[in-house]
Symmetry: C2
Subunit: 384 residues, 2 copies
């Protein structure tokens, strides 16, 4: 279903030969209207890939008729040539489909610092255009995979309208705004301002709270396209919740497929003085390599949680901190409490609760992964 | 030589039984004067171990007659009992040696969240006191090891006076002020204010610029003790440089012995707009797990360097960044430059130069390690 779950969209995913192994590497998502409304959020990394620089400009117009995505190369740190290649890709899609190049978003993923093989990519656009279908969402999701072991899609069906999406991402997952390629579509009849509000609210509490390895990508792109084909204009809150649910589902899938990971770590920060404090503490815990190793070893090493909290500027008293791992309060008032041997860590999901005892802020959840030898192996050899 | 290289000091290292494996675990360093001047810097982690809280108070007086250090337990996150145990340790040393407990610094290292076996530690103080010797520096350095594969000492001999020291540290190495236990001694005839100035200046550009794994300890302690026994009062600059040289030597030894590491990474940031910018950029590169994996795999993946720089707030233009790895400028003006295959990464030391092209600040060097499967193995099983 993916990006073609909502009415008014066609998609395709094909192998253009950008990847040397012959796997699918080019996806096309087309909004057939009647609306062409769109919103987008992009990496906050200041080193931005050429397609991000291009698509940021496109999105300023609030109209996107098509998105062309490639895996097999990030087109980041590729200088003026890289930007010309992105531009040429958009022009090619425009010429092939009879669209305006200024309304075509481009997204790329793969190795940084390598230019794209345009002699393969441009003919691939013809191939993808010929394959466009209302059932093409699955293939598009497959074509944007890099080190992903599975493709990732999600759909929320509502009364007469839907929000669907696809995502890729398995490493370099630590959002500045988002840390992966995501295309969401809806047939709701909404303008780009409504989409933008819903998308920013959704990413703030979903993709922005995923932190697999602390490394922010140069290519993060999350797009939301609306076709209006349902002729239904849902209420703001209902639409925003549907977008949030799809983002949350995809974000959870990203963590579940993180490179080399054996555990998904759900870090919940409670009783913080502010939401910012809670996010800072959650992220500090999420990025602590020693804790990530301990979780991998199924060692409920709460000392490393406290050590991570202690590096933040959040409001708390070290003597009032409480920590639970999988529901067992191993640390109370900053010191030893329940027996750590009671913690059962055999399952993939590990829940850490950090109680700052400093306020009444709503709980904040950050998702992370453990650190494994497989992560090291995969990322010491990655070059495609 | 270690802490007994300077005149006026005795030291000992013995096995008190704190470690279950019977290895040495208790060290004593005594300043026999005539001066008892001292300075110290401690972790900036807000979760501080009991011995840090104690020793911070002791150092406020500027006088330290003895330092007692134990491995086998960090006495961190141990609540009021932990602080009582530290106090009792200082009192025991005071009673045994006829000193003032308020002038005895205490340092501990090992697992967080476990109280110390005082029934073994206190008799160990008697044993250590009996073993005190002008040749005890080496044994003291051995007794403070945890996961360290070697003990670490350094000495600078000057004209009539000396600065010597010992350090322990192999993981949780990312200084807020320092990230390990270090005791430096000198027989220079200087007061605590002079020591403090030299020590803070030295740690700022040595221990503070070591970042093995991004994890800041709860127990970091760096002490500098002066006996005055040489009856020489060196000039400020000469003394400061000697302290800096010993700190630099020990810091380099810490990186060289980091848990599981196969590479020592020297990150030099040049042409930054400010020293703060340079440190921020160097630290961001040092903490990038994907880059650390690439270095482990001997992959000159400069895209990950740019990606790390891009997450900072430092002044730079992405299109003017230059990066060299082992002297080969693989990235110029933010894009592909010299052939990455020219980079020879077979040796343990890897040099990354990041040219921000944003100013004329003196180069700043941060030391880091690669990320390896051995690091994961060691830290997923660590419990002693």
């Amino acid at each position: 279903m993916s990006v073609t779950a909502a009415k008014g969209f066609t998609a395709a995913g094909i192998a253009a030969g950008i990847k040397e192994n012959g796997n699918p590497d080019l996806a096309l998502v087309v909004n057939n209207g009647p609306r062409l409304a769109a919103a987008g959020v992009f990496t906050s990394n200041r080193v931005k890939a050429a397609p991000v620089l291009w698509s940021e400009q496109v999105l300023k117009g609030g109209l996107v008729s098509a998105v062309v995505l490639n895996s097999g190369g990030a087109n980041a740190c590729t200088g003026p040539q890289g930007f010309q290649d992105t531009h040429a890709t958009a022009e090619k899609v425009a010429a092939t489909l009879g669209l305006n190049a200024g309304e075509i978003a481009v997204a790329s993923t793969g190795l940084i610092g390598v230019t794209l093989p345009m002699d393969k990519l441009l003919p691939g656009v013809d191939q993808a255009a010929a394959a466009l279908s209302e059932h093409g969402g699955e293939k598009a999701a497959i074509a944007i995979k890099t080190t992903d072991s599975v493709h990732k899609t999600a759909v929320v069906q509502k009364d007469g309208w839907a929000v669907g999406g696809m995502a890729k991402g398995a490493g370099m997952l630590a959002p500045g705004l988002a840390t992966m390629l995501v295309v969401l579509t809806t047939d709701a009849d909404l303008d780009s301002a409504a989409l933008d509000g819903a998308l920013r609210a959704a990413t703030r509490t979903t993709f922005d709270r995923v932190d697999s390895d602390g490394c922010m990508s140069t290519n993060d792109t999350v797009l939301l396209l609306a076709s209006g084909a349902s002729q239904v204009a849902p209420a703001h809150d209902e639409f925003a919740e549907a977008v949030r649910a799809v983002c949350d589902d995809l974000a959870r899938q990203l963590i579940g497929d993180a490179e080399g990971a054996s555990k998904d770590i759900r870090i919940e920060v409670i009783n913080a003085a502010s939401e910012d404090d809670a996010v800072e503490v959650g992220r500090s815990i999420a990025r602590n390599n020693l804790l990530k190793c301990a979780i991998h070893g199924e060692d409920p090493n709460w000392g490393r949680v406290l050590s991570a909290i202690g590096t933040t500027a959040a409001a708390f008293d070290p003597n009032q901190l409480n920590v639970a791992i999988n529901g067992v309060w191993v640390c109370k008032n900053g010191s030893v409490s329940e027996d750590r041997d009671l913690v059962d860590m055999r399952y993939r999901e590990v829940r850490i609760t950090a109680d700052l005892a400093a306020g009444t802020t709503e709980p904040v959840v950050i998702w992370a992964n453990d650190l494994t030898a497989d992560y090291v192996h995969e990322n010491s050899a990655y070059s495609s």
